[in-house]
């Protein structure tokens, strides 16, 4: 009997560990797409924040975007503690200044648009943060025929139940 209780306990623990790992994965594995706008923010509380001449965005030691005025760049990020390095050239011919930026990404938002000029001015979040809403494409570029094994021809399809070219 005692052995049994112990076993149930161990099995329960195993399930618990798996659930815990799964939960942890859900937190640390949440992916976000971060978009950076180098756009002029018009008339925010009466002020206008001008776009920079040029911004170079580096995420994880990788240069992901070089933004001219009105450009939008994009990077993917796993987890909520977003880090990037911005190399900002404010005016034409000006000196590039380097900013290291840490951001807390909200868990529930997939696509996050950051207005860089507003961000660097340290305006409140609502000024530089907006959610990216993808336009629903009708049928996205019909599958790039992945580099799968491309097994057998045809047999996949309708699993042997397609009756013909169509119904009468």
């Amino acid at each position: 009997m005692k052995v049994k209780t112990r076993r149930v306990l161990f099995a329960f623990l195993l399930v618990l560990v798996l659930v815990a790992v799964a939960a942890a994965m859900m937190v640390i594995g949440r992916g976000h797409t971060v978009y950076f706008d180098n756009k002029t923010l018009e008339d925010y509380q009466g002020q206008t924040y001008k776009a920079f001449e040029k911004v170079v965005v580096t995420v994880k030691d990788e240069q992901v975007a070089k933004l001219a005025k009105r450009d939008r760049g994009m990077s993917i990020w796993i987890g909520q503690n977003f880090k990037m390095i911005l190399e900002v050239t404010r005016e034409k011919g000006g000196e590039a200044e380097i900013h290291e930026i840490d951001l807390k990404l909200p868990y529930s938002v997939d696509g996050i648009v950051i207005n860089l000029p507003a961000l660097l001015e340290e305006l409140p979040e609502e000024a530089w943060f907006s959610e990216f809403v993808p336009a629903v494409t009708e049928e996205p570029a019909e599958e790039v025929p992945g580099e799968g094994d491309d097994f057998g021809l045809g047999l996949e399809g309708e699993l042997g139940l397609e009756d013909g070219l169509g119904d009468v």
């Binding site: 798996l18 790992v21 799964a22 942890a24 994965m25 859900m26 640390i28 594995g29 949440r30 992916g31 976000h32 993917i76 796993i78 997939d110 993808p134 629903v136 009708e138 049928e139 996205p140 599958e143 790039v144 992945g146 580099e147 799968g148 094994d149 097994f151 057998g152 021809l153 047999l155 996949e156 399809g157 699993l159 042997g160």
Partner: protein, 375 residues
């Protein structure tokens, strides 16, 4: 058996060739085709290594039911379906990278275990025709899979992202992009040797499964499974719960296949929702058979050799076909033909062998009579 030593070397060689007819045939086919296809060695090597990483785990899953005497079992396809459901959910929740893979694997366990349990129970009801039954179960469950993915997901099970949903508002698209977990396992610790990318971590996982199988054979359950596989009646008489052992072997196969499918999908980088699993079983079985396995006996070595030879053939056949006939489609069909052909051949040889043993005793009796007359 005692006279083994007396058999001349030539005969023994013949025996060796006969016992390994299928792998030898494939080695010859590959040897002929490789020059015809005209691929560079590094390209070939790269492809083979990639495909080994992609498929080995799945092929190894077939070993459990074989161990329990349930033949080449399509149960693994069910594991693949379980994994696909898990992967769809993970993709929808936008869990990326390694965490996504790990989550998908964990999530697939309940699905594939349940399906494996159903499959094992049904197969216990159809002892003696497990293979055809598992084949039909795989279609049957596929119907339910489609029902869930096509109608329940998005309608009952919430699906957040329109990008993986059909435009009509429920059901999953034909392809789910896994771009964000693409090859994340393969890239982990990956090394390049002479232009060939070796997905070390994936191979580590495969190695882990191999170790597990080797270890498992030495456990009580493994021993029981082998006993059940060789003689159900004797095992039962010895007090082994035969039906339960068989179900466990199927469940182990489906659960491992679930992991294998996640590995497979992360390598490909997208999920063909309705066709991804359809042929996995078929091609894993073909690969294992090409490696020299039979319906009742298969080992890790068979899986490795099989995957290498089978995929080598698969890569070079279209090119070789085009070279011979000038029509690349012929080569494509030829490799499909070879895959089916090898399974057919292996099944026929297995069934025919069962019958061969019968007439032996008669010959002995006749020989005894002749001896008597001589005396």
């Amino acid at each position: 058996m005692n006279g083994k030593k007396n058999i001349p070397a030539g005969k023994r060689l013949l025996e060796l060739v006969r016992n390994n007819a299928v792998p030898i045939m494939f080695i010859i086919i590959c040897a002929i085709f490789i020059p015809m296809a005209g691929f560079s060695p590094s390209y070939l090597l790269n492809e083979i290594v990639t495909r080994m990483g992609r498929n080995l785990f799945l092929v190894l899953c077939l070993l459990f039911p074989i161990m329990a005497g349930m033949g080449l079992n399509f149960a693994m396809t069910l594991g693949a379906m379980g994994a696909e459901i898990a992967v769809i959910l993970v993709a929808d929740w936008q869990i990326w990278g390694i965490p996504g893979v790990v989550l998908a694997m964990i999530l697939s366990i309940p699905f594939s275990a349940l399906l494996g349990f159903i499959c094992g129970t049904l197969q216990n009801m159809a002892k003696g025709r497990e293979m055809i039954t598992s084949y039909i179960i795989n279609f049957f469950i596929n119907g339910w899979y489609q029902l869930i993915v096509l109608y329940v997901m998005g309608a009952v099970i919430p699906i957040i992202h329109a990008s993986i949903m059909l435009p009509r508002g429920y059901g999953i698209r034909n392809t789910v992009s896994l771009l964000n977990m693409r090859q994340c396992l393969d890239d982990l610790l990956a090394i390049r040797v002479a232009g060939v990318k070796i997905p070390v971590f994936t191979f580590l996982l495969v190695g882990l499964l191999c170790l597990f199988i080797v270890w498992f054979r030495r456990t009580k359950l493994g021993q029981d499974m082998r006993a059940v596989g060789q003689d159900m009646e004797v095992a039962k008489a010895a007090g082994i719960n035969v039906d339960r052992t068989r179900i466990i072997s199927v469940v182990m196969s489906t659960v491992c296949a679930g992991f294998g499918m996640v590995i497979y999908l992360q390598n490909i980088g997208n999920l063909p929702t309705y066709t991804g699993h359809a042929q996995i079983g078929m091609f894993c079985i073909a690969a294992l058979l090409v490696g020299g396995a039979s319906v009742e006996k298969a080992g890790i070595g068979n899986a490795f050799l099989g995957v290498i030879l089978f995929h080598m053939m698969f890569i070079v056949a279209p090119g070789a076909g085009a070279f011979i006939t000038g029509d690349s489609m012929v080569g494509e069909y030829f490799r499909v033909f070879l895959s089916y052909g090898v399974i057919t051949l292996a099944l026929i040889m297995y069934e025919a062998k069962k019958r061969m043993a019968k007439s032996k005793a008669g010959q002995e009796l006749a020989a005894a009579q002749v001896k008597k007359e001589d005396a």
